[in-house]
Every structure is written in structure tokens, then in C-alpha cells.
Amino acid sequence: MSAQPLPLRFAGVFSRRPGTLGSAWRQPLAIAGMVLGGAWIAIAILVPLIAPYNPLAQTSQLFLAPSASHLFGTDELGRDIFSRVLWASRLSLPLAFFLVTMAVLIGGVLGGLAGYFGGWVDEVVMRATDLVFAFPTIILAMAVTAALGPSLRNAVLAVLVVFWPSYARVVRGLVMSLGQSDYVSAARLLGASSRRALVVDVLPNVAGPVLVLATLDLGNAVLLLAGLSFLGLGAQPPTPEWGSMVNTGTQYFERWWMGTFPGFAILSVVLAFNFLGDSLRDALDPRSSWAVQR
């Protein structure tokens, strides 16, 4: 008997999944993401206790290959790379969370206002997002940071400039479609005030997609900050930062340990956030083709 996939109209009847959120957390991807992310958060918190050396302490032991006493080797100033990689998490992780939170707030508010009021408010916000989207991410971030002066603070500002429009667009779209939706109209007819309708009906529906986007953006934030630091526009020496450490690594190519480990740290953190983001998306959108099926 040849087996062909079920027509879509039947999919809902025959494959509705009970308890979507519960089953999604048990997926291997989500677990891996939580374990990895949790590990890094733990590292960031416990670094003063775990790091074997002072990340800024220069010694005469230059360019040591990885060994028992220096797990990741030493760099061009004799500093222990393992400690520097660990300490750098104190920079990248909090900043990533901060960036995404701010982008969600700024973008969400602007997008919400644009969607709710429409008219010229909407036009202004939309044109602003268009302008930001017209530039490839790092180009704009690079230009902004360079113009303001290379420093971590300005790099953060630049990333913020580049991130808020996505949320503005998403929230605006959702607010507009929900504002016209039947059940919000019904709620209004029943006498609920506008603000109440906004909070109780609109917000939960907006939260889902925004949350997915935000989790994935955590990874993007880490990548972008690292990229800017790689260009010399973000964290300035001697601050340990993964991106700038990889840059140093490219200058001392044969000492492979100098660039490989910091880059690997970036990869693992971003991977963790992406695993989580994907699992979140699976859980929140039962109709999505990413949906898990037994």
C-alpha cells in the first residue's frame, strides 16, 4: 500500500498534540540547549572561583601550547587563554541579554504604537525600520560604532540600533491583525476597556513570536558583538572578549589555540540559544511544520 501524506484538512483532527509545551521540553534539542546555556550562565557567575589565573596577568610564558597547567595555552602577552575565555563570558552573556531585552522593549513599544495608532506614527516607524534594514547588519553597526568612537558602549548602542526594527515589525503586525480580530472586537463589545483588551487578549498572543525571536536573537547578539570586537570596534584591549581574541589568533596563525578556543566558546553559546529558540518555536506553534510528530 503506497503511503502518501494526509491532506491538510485532516491534519488537525488526527494529529492534534496534547500538552504541546510539556512534550517539547523533553526533546533532545531543548535539553541540550538548556544544559549548554545553563553551563555558560553558571560559568559566568562562578568565574572568579573557577578561573585558574588572572585574565589580565601578563607573564613571560608567551605562546605556550595547551597543556595541563594552561588548558588553552597562553597568548602573545603570556596570559592564560582558558581564564580569558571564561572571563569573557561575563561580558558577552550579560550584554546579550541586556541588548535583547532593550531591543524588545524599544522595538515592541514602537511597533505596538505604530500598529495601534496607525497613521503617521506608523509611517514614521516603518520608514525608520526600512532604513535600518537597508544595510547589512554589520555594515551599519560598523558605521555607527566607528562614527561614535570604538568602545564597548558604542558597540552595544550600534547593535541596539540594528536589532530593534525586527521587533517593531513583528509587534506591529501582530497588533494590527489582532486589533481587527473577531475576539478582540467581541471583547470590546462586551464592554472591556481598550487597555484591558490590549493586556489580556493581545499581549499573550504577541508574547509567543516575540519570545522565539528574542531567544534566537540572543545568539545573534553574541555573534554581532563578537564580530564588532573582531573588527576592533567593540571591546578594547586588554578586556578579554571572544571576538577580539579570535582576531589576535588570526595574527598568530600557527598558534592555533589562540583563535580556536574563543571562537568555539562563541559557537557553543550561540548553539545553545538557537537550540532553545527552535524548541520554543516548536512548542508555541502547533501548526508549524516544525511541529514535532511521533
Partner: protein
């Protein structure tokens, strides 16, 4: 036709908008642009400083400066690089072909590989192939591209010696007569096969590294687009007509899934541009990416702004082309 017209108008407006952004950014920079630009000459030669001021209208009010700025742009004057002391435009024209060659190759690899893997992943949904591909593609978009370049170069060049290390050609090999500036294409056109091989060998690693992120992105996008469509009524109808599954997937499903995949084209281009900035210097690839990288590390403002503006304009045009392609593939859009 109306569809095209509206898109073009939007494009022009956007173009003007980004010049405004670039202008504002330039104005934010503290300090005296004349001094920064002319360097030592500023101290020694007041006449030069004065000429500079007049050319850029530095003593005039801001709106006037903006208009002057636009005028300069219209005539192709992007300012002068503080490093090379040449017009940015000259620098760019020298470096664009190299990046063009890299970008086009990379995008081609990404689309062919990404779409194929995405279809495979969708058709084998939830089986082992799919799980593996999902993890791999997730890895692709989680990787810092500059790190990948470093590792790839170390492994494939330093350790394995499979590819040459830097530049576009082996030392001593001269490029074919200039037609497009893309060494591979020019070599083929001139029939110089050995040049072609050398150029291709140098091209392959950077192109693959740059393609990694996009392959991950496209695999995911294609998978999801195909799954959206694969059980639609019209696909079932095709099966009910007796068409074999392979034809159904490659003709009916892919065509319906193509529009969202095409929109990723613009994003893919942006990713490649981002990648070139970070990666060209690692491969000693003399393109605008390396130019931008160098300008960033030396804080050569005019060069940075010039490159940003140029890339943004190209990006806008690419998005425009993507929009057109979307209309070509999906006839319903042409009427809208």
C-alpha cells in the same frame, strides 16, 4: 508594470534615506574632518585646509552641507580615504570585482546546497536524515564566520595543504585580460585554463566558508517552506493525477515553496556582505570586505562611510531584484 513602478519609487526613496543616515553618522564624529583627512598637510598647508572646507561646505549650515553631500554623491564623489589618500571611489572600483567573484560563487553554492538539503530534510521529515540535517544547519547559523575561516584555513591549507593559503592567484600567475574583473570568468573567456584552475583553487575555500551560514539558513527555510506546501490540496491533486512522487516534489511542491525561499535571497546577500568584511583579510582576498575591515581598524571614516553606502545601495538593488523575481515565480503577486 505598475508593480515595477511602485517598487522603483520605493527604491529611490530608500536610497535617499540611507544617504541621510550616512550623513548624520558622519556629522556625529567629533573633531575636525579637515585635520583628520589631510593629516600632516593640515598643519603645513592652510590653503589646502581652506579648499577642503569649501569643497565640503564645512562652515555652512547643516542642511546646506547635506545638499552638497548629495551633490557629491550624485557625481560619484564618495570622499577621500584617509589611509590611501585616494578617492574612495577609486579604491572601491579596484576592490569590487574580487568581492563580486567571491559573493556570486558563495551564493550559488549556498542556494544549490541549501535548497537540495532542505528538500531532502523535508521529504525525510523526522527521520534520521532530517534530524542530522537540522542539527548541522543549526550549527551553520551559530558559527562565527571569522572563526570558521580561521579553522578552515588552518585545517585545509596549513595542515592538509589541499588549498592555497592566500590571495586570488598563485604567485607568479598573472590574471587573464580584464573583461569582468572576475579572474575565473576572464580566464575562461581568454581560454587560459591554467589561470582558471589557479583562480578556482584560491576561490573555493573562501567561497565555501562564506556559504556556510547561508547553507544553514537555506536548509532551514527550504525545509519549512516545503513542509508548508507538501500536503496542500493542489499537491494531493497532482498525486491523484498519477504523477510520480518525485515529479510532484520537484515540480509542484518546489515551485510553490519557491517564493519564500527567494525572499531569503536578499538576506543571503546581506550575510555574504557581512561575511566578506570579517573574512577577506584572513584569506588576503583583495576585496571591499578587506577594505572595510582595514578602514574599520584604522578608523578611516570616509572609507567606512563610502563602503557602507555602496554596500547598502547594492543591497537595495538586490532586494529589488528579489522582489521582481518573486513576482515572476508567483503570478498572483503581479496583479497586487
Amino acid at each position: 508594470m505598475r508593480f515595477l513602478g511602485r517598487r522603483l519609487a520605493a527604491l529611490v526613496l530608500l536610497g535617499i534615506g540611507i544617504t541621510f543616515v550616512a550623513f548624520v553618522l558622519t556629522e556625529l564624529v567629533p573633531g575636525d574632518p579637515a585635520a583628520a583627512n589631510l593629516g600632516q598637510r593640515a598643519i603645513a598647508d592652510p590653503a589646502a585646509v581652506q579648499a577642503f572646507r569649501e569643497h565640503y561646505g564645512l562652515d555652512k549650515p547643516l542642511p546646506v552641507q547635506y545638499v552638497l553631500y548629495l551633490e557629491h554623491l550624485a557625481s560619484g564623489d564618495l570622499g577621500q580615504s584617509e589611509q590611501s589618500h585616494r578617492p574612495v571611489r577609486t579604491d572601491l572600483s579596484e576592490f569590487v570585482p574580487a568581492t563580486a567573484e567571491l559573493a556570486v560563487t558563495s551564493i550559488l553554492i549556498a542556494f544549490v546546497l541549501g535548497i537540495s538539503l532542505g528538500i531532502l530534510s523535508a521529504v525525510r521529515r523526522n527521520r534520521l536524515t532530517d534530524q542530522v540535517l537540522r542539527v548541522i544547519s543549526l550549527g551553520g547559523i551559530s558559527m562565527p564566520v571569522f572563526w570558521l575561516a580561521l579553522v578552515a584555513l588552518y585545517v585545509f591549507f596549513f595542515k592538509l595543504g589541499w588549498v592555497p593559503g592566500s590571495g586570488r592567484l598563485d604567485p607568479g600567475v598573472l590574471p587573464a585580460p580584464h573583461v569582468t574583473g572576475l579572474y575565473t570568468v576572464d580566464a575562461l573567456l581568454a581560454g587560459q585554463f591554467d589561470v582558471f584552475v589557479s583562480a578556482a583553487q584560491h576561490l573555493i575555500l573562501p567561497a565555501c566558508v562564506l556559504a556556510a551560514y547561508n547553507v544553514g539558513l537555506l536548509t532551514r527555510f527550504t525545509r519549512s517552506a516545503v513542509l508548508e506546501v507538501i500536503n496542500n490540496d493542489y499537491v494531493q491533486a497532482a498525486r491523484a493525477k498519477g504523477m510520480p512522487e518525485r515529479t510532484v516534489v520537484l515540480r509542484h511542491v518546489l515551485r510553490a515553496a519557491l517564493p519564500p525561499i527567494i525572499t531569503v535571497g536578499g538576506l543571503a546577500f546581506a550575510n555574504v556582505m557581512t561575511g566578506t568584511v570579517l573574512v577577506e583579510s584572513i584569506f588576503a582576498w583583495p576585496g571591499i570586505g578587506q577594505y572595510a575591515f582595514h578602514s574599520a581598524t584604522t578608523l578611516d571614516l570616509p572609507a567606512i562611510m563610502g563602503v557602507s553606502l555602496f554596500v547598502a545601495v547594492v543591497y537595495i538593488v538586490v532586494n529589488f531584484v528579489v522582489d521582481i523575481l518573486y513576482g515572476v515565480v508567483d503570478p498572483r503577486i503581479r496583479v497586487a
